[in-house]
Symmetry: C2
Subunit: 244 residues, 2 copies
């Protein structure tokens, strides 16, 4: 059966595969500029448009970024974020040799929406903290999220979160919660809004992963809902059901 | 602390929250057209630009689609796809009351790339099937994926996959594999390429979830790698580490 996704053969695909393999082998480091399309076209004996199509394919996969003036550069590998029973952004970054940091962007008390209150086991309209934070790895923004927690259960949470360096783990410790677990994560994709793009230092309309996650006490009582966006070019979520 | 993400108050946010809550309560059904911005502006006592900002926020969240001429319509709820130890698109859709179907788009034998061969426990360059498929729910495209399997282990896989209605579960049964498990799923977000958009019947540049997943025999021997894109507006992945 023939491959239907190319006109005029699979030359661009073969070239893209070879470049991807070379990147995987470490022959091109992060930030390296690939040879120009004209040079590669000569090497492979194809038209430069074929090489450009291979570059576009690699860019779609997030392996390179193509920019006018700077050429085609090898992108940093995405930071892998395991979604297991325990999830901590900062601990995860630490395991990868990256320095995780966070900032609190805002904190407010609001009357909870029905769906969030139900998820947190609270009565409809219960008073909630709505706290916005930003997570960075080695100073690069990875994600920004809005956290929801009960005001009654977590009085002065704004201060606890700020004083804990905008780390959820540290903030919950201030309430005697030494351990918490991830009950659920719902993930989809959307385009970054203007504000999200500004916070994440990506282009407006760049692809982001949307995550709605619920954390719970070890007895599975939900305590925290966080709705986040993560830069698609920088992060990937990893689900390994047999890893724990 | 004040909320920094609005200029001139949180009126648009409050309106967006109220509309989102009404959608969640089922007061607006899928496909319903919301009242015009001018009408809502009058009801809430705000400028119509404020209502439009609320509409944009809801569109970003995937709750509505705003189109010229047809107004602001309530989007279908996303199909939830649980990423547990057993993953079957068709069985999952069946549980949701949707009819899952699939199509084989192409099948070819290729020399395997190093990374894919290593993941599948094969020697570098081993002969692989590269089989493209499309998954639909009630006739709407949900995702399209490229499957990789060993040619030696799965001779005539193209025929088995096609004869099994492009269902991986059915195709593997033809080789005596009655049960398989999901070892890992890696997820990120990107923009749909032209061909992906065409297959998924979405706009080029619309956001898609990218998934690279590895399936294995029950003894955890990997047999199948599938690289897919799913329409962000139609699908969400659900991870519940305590659900099984």
């Amino acid at each position: 059966m023939t491959d239907p996704d190319v006109s005029g053969g699979t030359a661009w695909r073969r070239i893209a595969d070879e470049i991807a393999a070379a990147i995987a082998r470490g022959e091109h480091a992060t930030g390296d500029t690939l040879p120009a399309a004209t040079a590669l076209a000569e090497r492979y004996g194809v038209h430069r448009h074929t090489v450009r199509q291979a570059f576009r394919h690699l860019a779609e996969q997030g392996l390179v970024t193509v920019s006018r003036g700077r050429g085609t550069q090898v992108s940093p590998r995405r930071v892998a974020y395991p979604l297991g029973r325990r999830v901590s952004m900062r601990a995860n970054l630490g395991r990868l040799g990256l320095v995780g940091s966070s900032r609190m962007l805002s904190a407010a008390q609001v009357d909870g929406e029905a769906e969030i209150c139900a998820t947190l086991g609270l009565e409809n309209g219960a008073r909630l903290w709505r706290v916005e934070g930003l997570s960075l790895a080695d100073g690069t923004p990875m994600g920004t999220g809005t956290h929801w927690l009960s005001v009654a259960r977590f009085p002065d949470f704004d201060a606890a979160f700020r004083d804990g360096g905008a780390s959820m783990t540290a903030a919950l410790k201030a309430y005697g919660i030494a351990d918490y677990v991830r009950l659920s994560t719902r993930l989809t994709a959307k385009l970054a809004s203007g504000r999200e793009a500004e916070l994440l230092e990506i282009e407006p309309g760049a692809p982001v992963m949307v995550s709605v996650a619920v954390d719970a006490l070890p007895d599975l009582t939900p305590i925290h809902l966080v709705s986040s966006v993560f830069a698609g070019e920088r992060m990937e979520m990893v689900v390994e059901p047999f890893a724990e």
